[in-house]
């Protein structure tokens, strides 16, 4: 992650018509996937395309790294598009008369990059999207999903740090869309671009977005993490919008886990542990080592048996196969773990230290309602690089875009 990163673009947009002024403002942090979602005609694409001035706002300013995009000359704007902002389109926008390779390197070609360098960059980008060795094919020979991979590769080949994606997967059928989302996420993990992503598919928005802005009639009605939007819809519109969400996909372990108050250390004697479990009415207890690293789960019955036999060690009662998941694991992946046995699933951090436990009950509650689980007072924001949170140096990056009408 870049420490110097101070990319913060805030776009504020208002319609100056007499009906009323709307504001739509947002920051995008470096390395973030920022999703704009709304029904057609809600202004989401308009805003996206304003960022690189494919749509020219009639009034206002856009700032990028402290530079005023709207004040740029045609020449500067061209450089901005060449070097800083790449784009992926819903209708792909590929050139049917060119090969895959020549499409991918189009951005470099207009920059005047030499053929040899272009070829290399093109092959690299094609490799990223899983199309290695297909550079000589014609665009017309490819399926829709493959074509959009080319579109993605074209945006990657130029290595701009910002990626604008205008409903890139909307034209694809659902199965392929899923593939592309996964592909995109894995590529993003590698290349770490700053992404502004427009979609009308809520599942897509919640799956991909670190933060999501919901738009209606040219206005942002809510901006927040996927969790915030699901849990605290700002108004009725958002509520209805998110009604049909598949919680299994969006919610993660940390949203339904119960924090662990009682653990058994591996060196504790069975009697001590049993006493503790009875005291708190626990059927299961996570067993950890001295550093709170998760080892397994012990069942009350097993511990009791050891205690009866006056065993000194807890070891043999520990089910070391007990399931554990990361805090970002989706409920959909956790669900199958409960199918065979009703053993709570441990939630661990990167160091394997126990953070909480998911019970069958809390999982089902998380799947069916927007009701809060016990520890929901905590923030569940997915981790977003936040080092460029607003600070003094950045205040100049505020952007104001005003536009009349839609």
């Amino acid at each position: 992650m870049r420490r110097s990163g101070k990319s913060k673009a805030e776009v504020e947009r208002s319609t100056g018509a007499t009906i009323g002024a709307f504001d739509a403002s947002f920051d995008v942090n470096r390395g973030e996937i920022f999703v704009i979602i709304g029904l057609s005609g809600s202004g989401k694409s308009t805003i996206l395309r304003t960022i690189n001035r494919l749509n020219e706002p009639t009034e206002g300013t856009i700032h990028l790294d402290g530079e005023d995009v709207l004040a740029m000359s045609t020449k500067q704007l061209r450089q901005l598009r060449r070097k800083k902002i790449g784009m992926v389109f819903q209708q792909f926008g590929l050139l049917p008369n060119r090969t895959v390779q020549d499409n991918v390197t189009f951005g470099l070609e207009v920059q005047g990059v030499g053929a040899e360098k272009r070829r290399k960059a093109g092959q690299e980008a094609l490799g990223l999207v899983g199309l290695q060795g297909q550079g000589d094919k014609l665009i017309t020979e490819l399926s829709g999903g493959m074509q959009q991979r080319v579109g993605l590769a074209r945006a990657l080949a130029t290595e701009q740090e910002i990626l604008l994606m205008d409903e890139p997967f909307s034209a694809l059928d659902p199965l392929i869309r899923r593939d592309m989302q996964n592909l995109f996420l894995s590529i993003q993990g590698e290349v770490k671009r700053t992404v502004v992503f427009v979609t009308h598919d809520l599942d897509e928005a919640l799956t991909l977005g670190h933060r999501v802005a919901i738009m209606k009639d040219g206005e942002i009605v809510q901006l927040g993490t996927p969790e915030q939007i699901l849990r605290e819809p700002a108004n009725e519109y958002v509520e209805r919008f998110v009604e049909d969400v598949d919680y299994a996909k969006v919610r993660t372990a940390q949203t339904v886990m119960v924090p662990v108050n009682e653990v058994a250390y591996i060196n504790d004697g069975p009697t001590v542990v049993l006493r503790r479990m009875r005291q708190f009415g626990l059927d299961f207890i996570p067993v950890v080592d001295e550093e709170r690293r998760f080892l397994g789960t012990a069942e009350a019955e097993e511990v009791a048996r050891l205690a009866e036999r006056n065993e000194r060690e807890l070891g043999s009662s520990v089910d070391r196969e007990a399931a554990k998941v990361g805090r970002d694991t989706s409920l959909r992946e956790i669900l199958p773990l409960f199918v065979e046995r009703d053993v709570p699933v441990a939630v661990v951090d990167d160091e394997n230290r126990i953070e909480g436990v998911v019970y069958r009950g809390s999982l089902i509650a998380g799947l069916t309602t927007s009701q809060e689980s016990p520890d929901e007072s905590e923030s569940f924001d997915r981790e977003v690089p936040q080092e460029n949170a607003p600070n003094g140096a950045n205040s100049g990056d505020r952007v104001r875009v005003r536009r009349i009408g839609e």
Binding site: L54, L95, F106
Partner: protein, 286 residues
Amino acid sequence: MQENLVPRIPLGQYAENVIDYITDTFEGFFDVVQDGLDGFVSAFEALLNFPPELVMIAILAAIAFYFAGWRVAVFAILGSLLILGLDLWEDTMLTLALVLSSTVVALAIGIPLGILAVQSRSIEAVVKPALDIMQTMPAFVYLVPMIILLGLGSGPALVATVIFAMPPAVRLTMLGIQQVPRNTVEAAHAFGATRGQTLLKVELPQALSTIMAGVNQVIMLALSMVVIAALVGAGGLGEVVVRGLGQLNVGTAFEGGVGIVIVAIYLDRVTRRLGQKRKKGGKGGK
């Protein structure tokens, strides 16, 4: 009484005055233009007459084979032999020269004009009605001043043919560029392509097959002018027909007509699939 409703407008007189004025003022200039145009057509004619007939037939057949397949190649050979048999070879070459030279001029003016007209609304507003006039004004009307300005010969024939044949080049160039999917143009802009780059790398390649359809039409229209061109002394197959007409000689006119038909079929078949041929070639070449 109706004669008095609107007084007689001496529009014809005005036109005559303008032509007179131009003739007087720019006489030297038009002499040069006339020589240039004549020379241009003659150059094509010389080029076509340079190879011996049989070699030329082979060349025509090879071109037909490359662009349109073996059937057209066979047709080219048989047609050429028929023309030879009718003793019309030189006339045919002259007609071909006239068609090709006026096509070259029409395209050289028409395609850039079409490109410009797409870029600018005001140019389009001027070009479109001008094209309508060029296509609907009877050729004889502008042949007369052409003769006055350029004398008899292939010069006025070339100009008249260009005027008549150019509109499809402009129109189909415009159409082709306008039909280019907006998203590809937009993508080019989004990646920082200049206007020129967008035109050369995105718009023209995708408009090519439509532009080529325009080329085909230009050629066919140019060919349809050969008889009229013969009236101003351009010679060629048109002249054979005109001669037949003047002498009421059905045979001569018919022979000339057959020659024109053969040339027409050949040119049409060869140029018809120019745009598509490229695509196919690209795929096959892989």
